[in-house]
Structure formats: C-alpha cells, structure tokens
Amino acid sequence: MATMQKMPQSSLGAGSSNYGTCKGCEVIVPDQFPAGLRVLVVDDDTTCLRIIEQMLRRCLYNVTTCSQATAALKLLRDKKGCFDVVLSDVHMPDMDGFKLLERVGLEMDLPVIMMSADGRTSAVMRGIRHGACDYLIKPIREEELKNIWQHVVRKKWNESKEHENSGSLEDSDQNKRGSEDIDYSSSVNEVTEGVLKSQKKRRDSREDEVGEIETDDPSSSKKPRVVWSVELHQQFVTAVNQLGIDKAVPKRILELMNVPGLTRENVASHLQKFRLYLKRLSGVAQQPGGIPNSFCGPVDSNLKLGSLGRFDIQALAASGQIPPQTLAVLQAELLGRPAGSLVMPTMDQPALLQASLQGPKCLSVDHGVAFGQPLMKCQPGMSKQFPQSVMPADDINSGFGAWPSNNLGMKGASGSLAGLSTQNSSAVMNILQQQQQPQQQPILSEPGRSINVQPSCLVVPSRSATNFPSGNNPASINQASNYNRSAITDYSLLSPQSSNSSLDVAPMLDRDPKTTGVPSGYSAPNSISSPASSGSANVDNVSNRQVQNSNIPFTASRPLTGLTPNASDIQTSYGPRSGDMLDQGPLRDLGFVGKGTSIPSRFAVVDPELPVANLSSERFYGENSGNRVKLEPNLDFVENDKVSAPVMQQFSPNDLMSVFSE
C-alpha cells in the first residue's frame, strides 16, 4: 500500500507511491539519479580538494569537503545516513586513508573510493586489498567522478540481495514496518527498506533532494540498516573470542550474542568484514626492523596494568567513542606483529608497561614508523592500554574538544563507556591469555619497548598516569631541546588552562572544514587568536600570524578577480586549509604538553606522520633535523606574507597605478 513516510534520512523528501508492491530484490533507479548524490571528500591537499569539489558540483552531486580524516570521521559519525559515498586520499597526515577506509566500512558501511597521486600497481593493489570500492589516480578527471554513483548502487544492491536470502518471512515484515517510523538500529529488514525508500525518494521528490539536510534528531539512527554500535560490536567480538577466531561461525556467534532482531546474515556479513580486517592488519603489520631490541624491567602486576588501563580508558571514554575497531586493531596488531598470529601473550603487557616506565631513555623512535605509517604499525607489542589509547587517537582527535577537559579534570568519563572499556579489557585479556606466552615474549618485548617510547604515544606513561590530573613531568620537560623548551615549559605551567583553551580551539577547527566545508572554515582562524592567547607565546604568535597571513593571499588574489571580487570564494576555499594548518599549529604544540603532562594531550597530537612525535623524539635526542623540519610548518605561515607579497605586488600596483597614470 502506498504510505507516506517521513524518512529520517537527510536530503530526501517524504513519499513513496508504490512501496507496498515492491519486494526486496527490485530497486527502481529514478531518472534524476545520480544527481544529488551526497559525497564526502577528504583530502589534505587543498588544491585537489578544491578541484574535485568543483568537478563534483558540476556532476550535480551534493558535495561536502574535509581536509582532515579525523574531522571527516567525526562528521560521518555525527551525521550517519547523510552521505552516500566517501572519496578519500590515501596519504593524509593525521590518519592513513586506508584506516579511514576501514573505519568507514566497519562503522558506516559506506562505499569508499580512494584517490592518490601514486598510480603504481603496488599502491593500487594495496587499495584493493583494503577493500576500497575504487582507486582513482590523480589527476582525476570529471568523467571518472561522474561514475562514482555506480559504487553506491552496486553496494546497496548487493546488500539487499544478501538480505533477500534471509527468507520470505521478512518480506511481510518489511511491509508492515515500512509504515512505522521506528528505530532502525537493530533490524536487518530496514536495509532493504532503506534501499527501496531512498531510490523512490530520489525519484519522487527530486526537487526536495538537494539542499534539504536534516540535522535534527541525531539520536535515532537515520540509516535503516544494522548499525554496529560499540556495544553491539563489543558483544560480537566477545562472542568471537569465546568461540575462537577460527571456530566462529555466524550461527553460534548469533546465539552467543543473544541480541533480539539480529539475524544470522547480519552477523555473517559483519564477520566477513571483521575477518578481512584482521587479515589485512596481520599482513600489514609485518614491520621491518629499525626498532631497538633492548627490553627492560620485570613484569608488572596486572593490577598496575589495570589501573593504567582505567586511566587510558577513561581518556578514551571521554573522547566520546571507543570505536570497536580499536579492539580489533589492538588484537590484530598485537597478535599480528610478532609471528603473524592473531594472539599475543599476556606477559607482554606488563613487560611493555615496564618498558614504558623507562620512557625517556627509550626514545629511540623508529623514524620509519613514526612517519608516514599508520599508527597501528607502531603498536604491536604495546600494552593493551597503549594501543587502545593510541590507535583511537585518531578518533579521539575528532572528539577533541570535549576530551581534554575531561581528562585533565578527571571528570566526565562516562560510566557506561568506562564499563565498556573494562569489558573490552577483559575481552582482550581473554584473548591474550589464550596463547602461549613465554616464547613470544622476548620477540614482542623488543618492539614493545621502543614503541612504548614513541613520543607521540607517551613519554612517561606510568608517571603520567599517576599525575593524571595535574601532569607535570619535569623529567620529560628537562629533556626538551632548547628550541622547544619555552613552548614546553609554557605549556606545562599553564597546562590545564592552556591545553583547555588551545584545545577548545581545535573543535572549532575540526568542525569547520566539515559540513559546509568551506565558509565556516574561514571564520575559525579569527576566533583562534583569543582562545589561543592563554597558551604559550610561541603558539600565540604563530596562530596570530597564521590568521593574518592567511588573509594576505586573499587580498592578493582580489586584484586578479578584477571587476568581480570573489574574495569570499577564495577565502572559503582556503578555509579548510588554513583551518587545518591552524588546527595543527596548536595541536603540535600541545604535543609538548603531552610530554609533560597527561595522556590526553598525548592523544591530542597523534599523527602517523607526527610532526610532534618527531619533534619530541628529536627533542630528546637533540637532533636538529627534526626540529627544523617540524617547526617549518609554523614558520611557513610566518613567511606567508613573503610568499604572497610578490603576488600582491605583481598585480595590484601595476593595475591600480596604470589606471591612474597616463
């Protein structure tokens, strides 16, 4: 029967004419499709971002741009069901594109298309192995972008077919449920419903499509499919662990999970993804050497482990989300690293913990690991807390604003999440205890030690744990190089306020590049100067100069536009970028805070490339290259005026003068 349904999905109007007559396998593609396809583009390269955005607009797609992967993830999580496809660059500073791909695949189940300038077969192969729907090589042409809708449709069709096989009983359920606006989070039937509805909506209400974005009602799940929430995934993982990864069959997992409304097919598809994910991690996590092998310290008791874990977990909890994948990642990496197996001995954790105690001495940072590698490669061998802490740091960055205050004040850690964390911990412990311990311990301890010392992760974890709220660590600070000392000491002295204030800036920046993508991004720089003022002088000057310098290119380009100044366009296109850089500015300096203070700040600065990591590592070892390199980005902004000035001079004086001369 025809029913008018108010779809929670964004940008789709209501109304479906012949919903009742459509069964699961038929999906009608409306004429106007794929116009209005909602695309999220993530690329740290502003040039490409702008070009692709324009190309997509020309394809009549609904484009949102993002220059940071963490912000993109946050956006995707906040607005579930608001996007149809994600385009992501492979190499990004804050998060590897493939990691983003996996997260999106597991959490939101959207098609992700990778882009890269690297078109070599090996790179493309890597993309395929990670499960990318497609791999585009830069320079990207408009024709290629016109075709991305096929991935959306294909994915939806495959899913609907998959759930079609669940039986005819559910078809009637579909019809009944279609008329109700219910919480879709646990029923598989809505997947098919969603497919049908979205297609029909597109066809029936094309005019309402574009521009109608529903941002209200975030509590109910907008996408009518199984949402693998943290709790659900946790139950899944627990079940899998109980059965053993090899013996985990969907039916038994389903029984163990005991979740009403979940079908075997849901579990099966999720299990498939999970397995692929683990496989990829274990294959990918084979790291070459370069990691110091000395291992120090006796084995700590689990008690200490637990207490530290709680701290970290609270830190995680405060971020607002503990992606279930962190567990998977944690497990897979811990397990995958030493011997390619999926399990790691428990002994490693205390050992690694001890290693971390030696933090300052062991800062033999693996450059190869610190740079250009996803964090997960650094983590195998780390105690469970640390990977847990570090891995989701990318996610934590997204929940950045709320997080530091929580941690610094030791407040706001949601009880449920903390409970969940302990649940996670126990699950991990289960897995870890399943394996043989002694043989693997020495192997694991080696990477663990060095990795624990990664500056980005932690400097003196045990000490930081104990000093959690206040977090002044003179030892680590003293080791700072001259160059950064002032920044560090500034931060450590002001740590609660400065980190709070500077960190408060971050959410603005994080958020800005995202939704509208452009105009709001530009407003961020101006607002930075005030909050950042309480921070160190370094950061202040840099930020302020960033703000001012970012203005200069804009004015420089105005003469170019001549009669029709489109400063707003230019500015906005710069928005994400300057916001991005400014974001990184205070974040980088916050890394100093992290050194001396609490784990939260450490999280704040986690990047795989980790300019801060490099800085801190360099700091400890007194290498100059890192400092020079890392501080350059800050200086970049300072020199902006020099760069753009020639442009300005080139255009405006000539033009203006010639107008009035002769």
Binding site: P139, P553, L560, L563
Partner: protein, 194 residues
C-alpha cells in the same frame, strides 16, 4: 582619423553607446595608429591572442597539459575565478612543500626519505591536478631517487624541481596578468566619436 572611425564602427556593431573613459592596464599603443589599445577594439582580441599564444607555448614545452584545460572548463558563472583561485592555492601549498623538502635535504644527517616521499606525493598530486606536467615529471624522478635513498640524486631533483616550479609560476603569473587585462578591456566603454 580613419582608424578612429573604424573603431567607432566597431563600437556601434557591438552596441556600445556609453560615454566615459576607462583606462586599460598598460598603455600599450598600436604600432600603426599610435593610439592606446583600449581606444581600439583590438584590445580584447589582442589580449586573448596573447593568452592563447602563451598557453600554446606552455603546452608545446610540456609545462602544461590538458588537465589545465579541464581546469579552465570547470570555471563557469557560479565560479568565475576558479582557475586563478586554484592556482593560487597551488602556489601557496607548493611553496610550503618545497620549503619542507629543502629543509629536509639540507640536513646532513637526513635519513627520513619516507617523509620526503609523502611531501613529494602531495606535490605530485596537486601538480598533476592542475596540469603542471613538467613539475610532476620531476617529482616522479625525485620520488625514485628518494626511494633509493639517494641523497645526491634527491638534491639534484630538488633543484630541478625548484627551477621548473619557478618557471611555471612565472608563466602562470604572466597568463593571469593578461587574463586580467582582458577582463578589464572587455569592460571598457568606448567614447563615441562622430
């Protein structure tokens, strides 16, 4: 006189009957008449020719490729300054990248080729996206050298890269200058002579 009448006729064919004088940028004079270009209807066409000639030269030299044309096609009424906007972003980003690369390589104990590879990757991506073919090719060679951990090769490649980039930047500046003149010239209101 004849020329002015000619230009007057040209004005009437274009339907421009407004009074008022707007000076165009450079007081370039026609060789034959000695009058400033803006007074003649040749201004816009000449500038357009100049632009085409410059582009043709750059294409011939391999400095630009058809991706640049795609960029131009993306410019439309909703985004009238798209090309210059993107190119400016590209300059801004590229100079940052070049500085980073220079900084990395000037350190004698430099060993982080991976980081350099990442910078290079971004440079390659943005250069190829705007159609800067030669710059991109140098990046490819640079990347090869960096993957072999060949510091000397990287230094040479960086110098070449900086050279190519400067050349590209100068040429594109020139291009935009002519473009701007053309825009202004197109808006010129010619005085009607009887």
């Amino acid at each position: 006189m004849r020329d002015i009448r000619r230009s007057g006729r040209r004005d009437s064919t274009r339907g421009e009957r407004k009074y008022g004088l707007f000076q165009v940028i450079s007081p370039s004079r026609s060789a034959k008449t000695g009058l400033p270009l803006w007074l003649l209807g040749l201004g816009v066409d000449r500038l357009r020719t100049d632009m085409s000639r410059l582009l043709a030269l750059l294409f011939h030299q391999g400095v630009l490729d058809e991706q640049f044309l795609q960029l131009q096609q993306l410019q439309d009424e909703s985004c009238p300054n798209f090309v210059s906007e993107v190119i400016n972003i590209y300059f801004h980003e590229s100079e940052k990248l070049l500085r980073n690369l220079r900084g990395l390589l000037s350190d004698r104990e430099f060993s982080d080729y991976k980081k350099m590879g990442i910078h290079l990757n971004q440079f390659m991506g943005s250069s190829s996206s705007i159609g800067a073919k030669r710059v991109r090719n140098v990046c490819v060679a640079f990347r090869a050298a960096s993957e072999q951990n060949n510091r000397a090769g990287c230094l040479r490649a960086l110098e070449l890269l900086e050279h190519e980039y400067c050349y590209l930047k100068n040429k594109l500046h020139e291009f935009f200058q002519i473009e701007q003149q053309r825009v202004l010239a197109a808006g010129v209101r010619y005085p009607i002579q009887n």
